[in-house]
Symmetry: C2
Subunit: 374 residues, 2 copies
């Protein structure tokens, strides 16, 4: 007994009771009010007298009360959590998208639950998980979703918005950059820069984004009557992209212009062209990307690329999303946010069409050019 007492005295910290979190009921008892009064104090639009509110707040702070959001979401049916599925965070464009999204959502009092779905993989298995969590909405960043599950999401009222991918399935919204037009613009730009041999480095054929970029590019080239571009597959990975570049550059008739389906692959291509082939990128070989990630502007690359404005894409996605969560089920169609061709030094310049916009040089097809009959 004495033993115990002295022990206690010498113990620096209490036995760490691992006190369970305090509940609303406890606060109520402490404050001498009903449990529902406590609930009302912590519910935005509820009517409580100043006196009770004061008592409750006092009790809550001394007890260290925090409402259990899990419990409240069980009854309200709203978790204020949105799932975000992304192929990974190594591509800075995705990282930026997710980071911006997370910030934008947190402003609106939503939290983000993060899921990873390898590129080229469908998000289906993950979705099974997600459905169990009763999330309020789902954002698919560069991820696919079977139409079966898309249907199911619609049925249980889970709004789904795809970012940087689109889908046929109605009922799921999408926000993408202007892939087709952007790629066509790149085609025109390269044509105007009097390139002759074109190549396209695809991402994954399962990606609508890559397909759209390829189509836009191919079509513009076709309109101009040039040979269709060589196609290689970079698969959105550094390994495959460098390999693809190598194949392209060691071919007999080496292309003088490569359009890569994203910046990351474009930068890999630049690396390979420079360090393995000693090429002066921008003079001997033109390389153009897509995304305009932060790194594209770095002096080490100065990549010419078509921009996809992350902020606007996220804005758009968030708008769709909160509207859908608020019940207003606006048209779940595709949304396209437009970008521009930011020209830097990785591709040979055409004689005209260049202009300064917000500290960037951008290229737009000169009017006369459009007079060309097909």
């Amino acid at each position: 007994m004495t033993q115990l007492a002295t022990d206690d005295i010498f113990e620096k910290k209490p036995p760490r009771a691992l006190r369970r979190p305090v509940t609303g009921h406890e606060v109520a008892r402490f404050a001498g009010v009903s449990q529902s009064a406590v609930s009302r104090v912590f519910t935005p639009g509820a009517s409580v007298s100043d006196r009770t509110r004061a008592k409750v707040v006092a009790a809550a702070t001394t007890l260290g009360y925090r409402p259990n959001l899990i419990a409240s979401s069980l009854i309200t049916g709203k978790s204020r959590i949105v799932g975000v599925v992304v192929p990974g965070l190594t591509n800075p464009f995705y990282a930026a998208l997710v980071g911006t999204l997370s910030d934008a959502l947190s402003v609106r009092e939503y939290r983000v639950m993060l899921f990873t779905a390898r590129h080229g993989t469908s998000a289906d298995p993950i979705l099974e998980e997600i459905l169990r969590y009763r999330l309020d909405a789902l954002v698919l960043v560069s991820a696919q979703l079977s139409s079966r599950l898309a249907e199911e999401c619609a049925e249980v009222g889970l709004p789904v918005v795809m970012v940087n991918r689109k889908t046929d399935s109605e009922a799921v919204s999408s926000v993408t950059g202007d892939n087709q037009a952007g790629a066509a613009c790149i085609g025109s730009f390269l044509l105007a820069g009097s390139h002759r041999h074109f190549a396209f480095m695809a991402g994954l054929d399962s990606s609508s984004t890559s397909r759209d970029r390829e189509a836009g590019f191919r079509e513009r080239l076709h309109q101009a009557g040039t040979m269709p571009p060589l196609k290689v597959r970079g698969s959105y990975t550094a390994e495959e992209a460098s390999c693809a570049t190598r194949n392209l550059l060691k071919a007999d008739t080496r292309p003088d212009a490569i359009f890569c389906a994203n910046d990351q692959m474009a930068m890999v291509a630049i690396d390979v062209a420079r360090s393995e082939f000693g090429l002066d990128v921008g003079r001997e070989l033109s390389i153009v990307g897509f995304d305009d990630t932060q790194l594209a502007a770095s002096p080490a690359y100065r990549l010419t690329t078509f921009s996809q404005p992350v902020d606007e894409m996220v804005d758009s996605a968030v708008r769709v999303l909160v509207d859908a969560c608020s019940g207003r089920d606006l048209s779940a169609g595709p949304r396209i946010v437009s970008g521009q061709l930011v020209v830097r030094d990785s591709a040979r310049l055409p004689p005209n069409g260049l202009s300064q916009v917000g500290g960037h040089t951008v290229w737009t097809q000169p009017a006369k050019q459009s007079i060309n009959r097909i």
Copy 2:
């Protein structure tokens, strides 16, 4: 009646009833068993006869039942969600950390809830949020936490592990790279490369990581009897880092070696040194980073840097975390995962100490060197 029937026939899809998700009770009724039987079927270690299980599974699949994890977490007190607080995802090192962490946790059936706390900001406000969600654990990536809240987390039994930051507060574990030793190693390396004027580009003084790196570097330099390094603040941002580099390079006695507290700032420094001062980095000016992010290896930078192995750090963090969640409260001390000085081309080479390890060139202090009396 007939009207309804024909209506049904002509409706392609049902009026999109926005059917609430099906509950365990509904499955039970459908299968002709009790609701608790359904629960047991979906609870790993429960005893159910094959016959009931079969009935339940059949009912569940036809109805499209998914157990509500929110509801179950309310009663079990375990959400299998861990909060991850990160300053942002623009730094590839953080992005890699979060991505890897998310993957590692998902293997163990944990989900990640993402929070952002600006650099230099404490995670306290976010933590208030987090505590409301009854998460199972918390990972702080490069974020601070007041000891008051750390205490509170411990009290409610929320395990906290800091990654890439440490703290005095016991009861919160931490996993960091070997900042002090790594910085000292960089000091020795630069000394051995016969540099004379040193500079240190700090991150934020509120960051234990930056402080430790500074201390290690400073101490080693002091041991060697050289002048203490000039100190500039890059604040972990591109803007401030480029500005700091400019100040350093336009000074009368320009340093010939800059150690930057992370790779990102080091790469900014390289950009500025090259493009604004025309310096040949690696010959006229040495720049060393810390982290060994993916980009450091790119031909465009070839940055010499001290590595922090992301996989090991995440492994370590996850181990601590799941152990803590499983009740075993192992010593919540600091854990240090060691790295090595990966030498590439951004800093002048010392005459010896270089060796090849796993496709990298690394530098270790040659034995004789250590014979130096202070």
